[in-house]
Symmetry: none
Subunit: 106 residues, 2 copies
């Protein structure tokens, strides 16, 4: 496969759940456990809208309590770190009233 050419636009983010790691261009992001769990959950379900319930259950192990905002707070932190490493890529999309979706493309 061609490598030299213009510039790679994909594959910049690698997620390795077994290694508890997420890399951008080969350099590890420093994510906390929760941030990584959240990223892994989203990344494992690309293009799919995940509800807050699903996300909370996957990351915290239990469904969220009423008015729990932790998913939002962690999405915000994750976006900040991903955004710092990949300034020009939008990866996590909000679906108002439902939850979030991870999409490497649009």
């Amino acid at each position: 496969m061609a490598v030299g050419g213009a510039f790679e636009k994909t594959g910049r983010l690698e997620v390795r759940p077994e290694e508890h790691a997420a890399l951008v261009d080969g350099r590890p992001l420093s994510l906390t456990v929760r941030e990584l769990q959240l990223l892994v959950t989203l990344w494992s379900n690309p293009q799919r809208i995940l509800t807050r319930e699903e996300l909370h259950t996957s990351v915290w192990g239990t469904p969220p309590r009423r008015d729990d905002r932790s998913v939002d707070v962690y999405v915000s932190r994750l976006r900040a770190k991903l955004g710092a490493a990949l300034p020009d890529q939008k990866l996590i999309y909000t679906h108002n009233g439902i939850g979030y979706r991870f999409s490497p493309d649009g």
Copy 2:
């Protein structure tokens, strides 16, 4: 099965209630929760005339109050978004004095 030919005219709209999504040609429409609920209700009952009462009850959970126009307002918004994505297809038909009907074909 033939694939190349002229152009597909059907199957352009997909509705996936479990995934909180509606797609046209594979691309997600950005519908609000109410808009999606309304579309799902109509789409689940193709060719059938649904009264405002039925639609309101299905989407809002309660029958409409006297002079409630919310069903009409949301039908209008839904038509606008569907029309933008599928300019040449009429999907939602009005039945004066009764309600609306969803028909992928005529």
